[in-house]
């Protein structure tokens, strides 16, 4: 009885949130109608919880409990704190878009000297442009129906719209940086990357917190279209505050003869979910989707990947590693769907978790749904502690317990990090892992 009352109170509050901020959201007319519909869809479903199979291990009604009010637009002081936080970013020469509390911050961004063939707009400017016929599509979620992306569609305030023209080879990565400066508030962002036929691009995404930003919520969506004969490499580093929540939905559509490599490293956030929907839309393509979770304390991080082999002759590889200390909880769910027509599919998934504490927990849920008969599919999962005989060998050579552990952990996550083709970005991922190891103390 009590539970029912509590739930309805939460929902009433969520409803108030939308009503009270509608006028702050960009886009009128069709866009506003779309937002209202998306919010209604979210309200019908409520926060996802354990009885939904896809959210089995990450019950947001327990872990997130409520939807926080929208963060105030950044003022001069917030921008100053955000700028200070940017110093923690890797020194990568990139076209940089900075979103502070969900709002594009031109003064902190670097979009000078954009290469020919590359176009950058903000979601806000497109949504507010009544003359843009495509603006209504910006809040659509394709075939993905999930309460959290519906909430994102309803409340998204800003984001990047990046287009790379056919046959353009980007010299510099596109770097989207999310900085949180407010406590107990939420930011909703949505970004788009369209990489044309025969083009090559690199997307780097960072999530960081300004000093003092606590207990905030991030809900991000990234919608990526990879053309034919196109190469895209994506690296995402989530280093949000350890008491923040980060729910991110990434939707990738991959054309023919394309190569897509994704890498997600979660070391921040108290509660996080990275859900990736990857669909092969053209034949002869390769996807490599990899990730590392580095967690301690009471962090809960969920990586859920849906890989849809909708067409024949495509290859996918998933390599996922989790390192868990204290009472941390890591979830990996990997679903591979091989459609009836998708003959000659080659799909493999391997996930391994390393437990540094007796109280840490790793859940692995591989799901293979194969409807074609001429395919190669496989998955494997292991969970274990550091090998004592390796630790002793290293200690007998003079390494302290911590140093020996660090070396073995680096080797363990290295198997996933090695998938990053760019030397610079691989070094950034290695440095992030090293920083995490040093912070373990």
């Amino acid at each position: 009885m009590n539970v029912v009352i509590a739930k309805s109170e939460t929902r009433r509050m969520e409803s108030d949130i939308f009503t009270s901020i509608r006028e702050r959201l960009p886009g009128a007319g069709k866009v506003a109608e779309g937002r209202a519909q998306a919010f209604a869809a979210f309200e019908r479903a409520g926060l996802p919880y354990r009885r939904l199979e896809d959210w089995k291990y990450t019950d947001l009604r327990v872990l997130m409990r409520e939807v926080l009010p929208l963060a105030a637009a950044p003022d001069a002081e917030a921008l100053k704190r955000a700028e200070a936080a940017l110093a923690s970013l890797p020194a990568i020469d990139a076209s940089r878009l900075v979103l502070v509390d969900g709002v594009f911050a031109p003064s902190l961004s670097d979009l000078t000297a954009l290469q020919t063939g590359m176009r950058v707009q903000t979601v806000r400017e497109v949504l507010d442009d009544a003359g843009n016929a495509a603006r209504g599509d910006l809040l659509g979620n394709g075939a993905v129906s999930d309460a959290m992306i519906a909430l994102n569609a309803a409340l998204a305030t800003d984001g990047a719209v990046v287009t790379v023209a056919d046959r353009t080879v980007l010299e510099k990565p596109v770097h989207i940086v999310h900085v949180a400066t407010r406590s107990s508030a939420a930011a909703y962002t949505r970004s788009f990357l369209t990489v044309g036929n025969g083009a090559q691009a690199t997307l780097l995404e960072s999530f960081i917190a300004a000093e003092g930003a606590k207990s905030y919520q991030v809900n991000d969506a990234v919608i990526v279209s990879v053309g034919d004969d196109t190469q895209l490499q994506q690296v995402r580093l989530m280093s949000d505050s350890v008491d923040a929540a980060n729910i991110t939905t990434a939707i990738f559509t991959v054309g023919a003869k394309a190569r897509l490599t994704t890498f997600n490293m979660t070391s921040g956030g108290g509660l996080s979910r990275y859900q990736g929907y990857l669909t092969f839309a053209g034949e002869g393509s390769e996807v490599s989707a990899n990730g590392v979770n580095l967690l301690n304390g009471r962090q809960h991080a969920d990586t859920t990947l849906f890989l849809d082999h909708a067409v024949p002759h495509c290859m996918s590889r998933e390599v996922f590693r989790a390192v868990l200390d204290d009472r941390a909880h890591s979830v990996f769910q990997g679903r591979i769907i091989v459609r009836p027509d998708a003959q000659k599919t080659d799909a493999k998934m391997m996930t391994r978790a390393l437990l540094l504490s007796d109280e840490a927990e790793a859940d692995n849920k591989p799901e293979l749904e194969i409807f074609a008969d001429d395919v190669t599919c496989g998955h494997g999962a292991t969970t274990g502690a550091l090998d004592e005989s390796l630790l002793f060998y290293l200690r007998a050579r003079g390494l302290s317990e911590k140093e020996a552990q660090s070396l073995l952990i680096q080797a363990f996550v290295g198997e996933a990090i090695e998938s990053i083709a760019s030397d610079d970005l691989r070094d950034v991922a290695i440095a992030t892992a090293q920083r995490w190891l040093e912070m373990r103390g």
């Binding site: 090998d387 004592e388 005989s389 390796l390 002793f392 060998y393 290293l394 200690r395 007998a396 050579r397 003079g398 390494l399 302290s400 317990e401 140093e403 020996a404 070396l407 073995l408 680096q410 080797a411 363990f412 290295g414 198997e415």
Partner: protein, 250 residues
Amino acid sequence: MSLLEVRDLQVRVDDREILHGLSLTVNEGEIHAIMGPNGSGKSTLSHVIAGKPGYEVTGGEILFRGEDLLEMDPDERAAKGVFLAFQYPVEIPGVVTMNFLRTAYNAQRKARGESELMAPEFLKKVREVAKRLNIPQDMLKRGVNVGFSGGEKKRNEILQMALFEPSLCILDEMDSGLDIDALRIAADGVNALRAPGRAMVVITHYQRLLNYIIPDFVHVMSRGRVVKSGGKELALELEASGYAQFDDAA
């Protein structure tokens, strides 16, 4: 003061006593061979000296230059100059040999309050030693012992011994798994490291190794004790008569 003094050492594993009061004294510059049948406790002794977890010392003591070795962590022992060449060196995928060597080398130096060696300087040093031991450079770029042959693994142990310059080297069954050529290369490497300030304890089942590494003293272990000690001629005696004669003595 002796370099190593093992006094009346009693060791248990899983409630079973393996060493029943073992004593051994090793001085600087000496080479000791410890021989004995399988299960006599030879490897247990080497593991306890190096500090491997899982062994319970229920009596006796081990002094290294007069200091209580049993009170030290394995890495402290390494920094003090104790080196165990493993019978079965482990494979560590993902840890590049060169990186491992430098991390270990500098960890030992740091523990002794010495300055760390920078990468180029260290690289030069490793290359010199590797060349002397006939170790190909590409082995240093591979994961530690990953895909190494038995002989390569043992040479990698000797490479570390040469780099770390320990004062006490314990060679645990260095000859196991080596053919005669590989054994000769490994033994040459060890002989090159003989020095007045450095002692070695060579643990072996077979006399064969002692044709290449000539010991000053030979000890026979049986059932957790040293049952006979003598000069290098004792090894030849054992080769002729076997270990059976010591079964009763134990």
